[in-house]
């Protein structure tokens, strides 16, 4: 590309497009990236001084530059961290991260409006002083004696306790093989019913206090099974 801006009256084979500058002299450009020479003056012109069109200089690469070629985990010394988090099989439940917290914390926060996301969307009122309760204020905390209604009871049972119940079933089953065989079809018939009932209970209450309900009903059902088994055994 040779863009030569010339005035019409100066077009002649004798006149040089570079003005007073000798063509043998290649004035370096200040940026150092273009292979063209732009000369200003009486006859401004843009001349392509290299054999290759739009050829630019290669970028200056420093030896310590971090690119995608380098293994960033090695570079930042995260190998141990990577092995610890990625190669070892860790539990995915929140309760494994916070084992000392009471209650069932593995349930989603949206179920009981305890999500951190809602805390960000609707932040609580802050900036007020936290003062101790006066005696008159404490009088408002006089409660009625007696247990709470079931729907308001706090579920403090941990999920691991359910496993122990299953183990107890198996332990009672190993004493008599007949019990296991009679239990299994009963279990298979009753399992969908159990799920349906628990689903209905959750819909009605919409609170995390359904665990004790389920455990109470299961205990009753286990008692019923044992009674049925005792009735069946003398018949067989």
């Amino acid at each position: 590309m040779n863009d030569q801006i010339r005035r019409p009256e100066q077009i002649s084979p004798k006149s040089s497009p570079r003005g007073s500058i000798s063509p043998a002299y290649q004035r370096p450009d200040s940026s150092g990236t273009l292979k063209t020479t732009i000369s200003l003056g009486k006859v401004p012109s843009v001349l392509h001084s290299g054999p290759f069109y739009l050829m630019k200089e290669m970028p200056v690469s420093v030896g310590n530059e971090i690119t995608g070629c380098t293994n960033l985990i090695e570079h930042y010394g995260l190998e141990h961290t990577y092995n610890k988090f990625c190669n070892k099989k860790g539990k995915e439940e929140l309760s494994s991260f916070l084992p000392h917290l009471p209650g069932c914390i593995d349930t989603p926060g949206m179920q009981d409006n305890s999500s951190l996301h809602s805390l960000i969307e609707k932040p609580p009122i802050t900036g007020k002083e936290i003062n101790s309760l006066s005696n008159t204020a404490l009088t408002s905390f006089r409660l009625h004696p007696g247990p709470l209604p079931e729907q308001y009871r706090f579920m403090s049972q941990m999920p691991t306790k359910k496993k122990h119940k299953h183990k107890r079933k198996r332990e009672s089953g190993t004493n008599g093989a007949l019990q296991e065989t009679t239990d299994n079809p009963a279990d298979s018939h009753e399992k969908p019913a159990k799920h349906k009932k628990t689903g209905k209970a959750e819909d009605n209450t919409k609170e995390p206090s359904g665990g004790k309900k389920e455990s109470g009903r299961r205990k009753k059902k286990n008692k019923k099974k044992k009674v049925k088994d005792k009735d069946e055994e003398p018949q067989s």
Binding site: E92, G109, H117, I130, S132, P147
Partner: protein, 134 residues
């Protein structure tokens, strides 16, 4: 730096334990337990005051919002770290693949152009060899 997190953790654990005990008292309340209930309530307020005092030490702590999504779903927040590391490694490998592919392409292109335009490529190589910084 680790002390302030340990202190906060201890304070929160005490607060949660106090709340749990309060819940036990309330679940089956007896009139004799009124004093204990009042004491637990006062302890709760004191716990809140202590935790509120600690917020000044945590101003520079930044928590990514994506971790909250994991916690809200009941998942271990270490999973977030694991997924971050895996994504970083995957992206690193992807970019390295691109760089290697472009290098191979450049080598092949220079080879083919040298076959078709030998003189021009010799000039090019000479110019690149002069222009390349040490």
């Amino acid at each position: 730096m680790a002390d302030r997190f340990e202190n906060l953790e201890e304070q929160l654990e005490r607060f949660i334990e106090n709340t749990r005990q309060l819940g036990i008292i309330v679940s089956d309340f007896q009139p004799q337990g009124q004093n204990a209930l009042n004491q637990k309530l006062q302890t709760m307020v004191q716990g809140m005051q202590e935790i509120d005092k600690m917020k000044g030490q945590m101003q520079d702590v930044h928590v990514p919002l994506e971790v909250f999504e994991y916690i809200d779903q009941g998942k271990n927040p270490n999973l977030y770290t694991k997924h971050c590391l895996e994504k970083a490694l995957g992206k690193n490998e992807q970019v390295k693949g691109k760089i290697d592919a472009f290098k191979k392409f450049k080598a092949l292109l220079v080879l083919e152009l040298s076959d078709v335009f030998p003189k021009e490529m010799a000039n090019y190589r000479a110019m690149r060899g002069d222009d390349r910084p040490a």
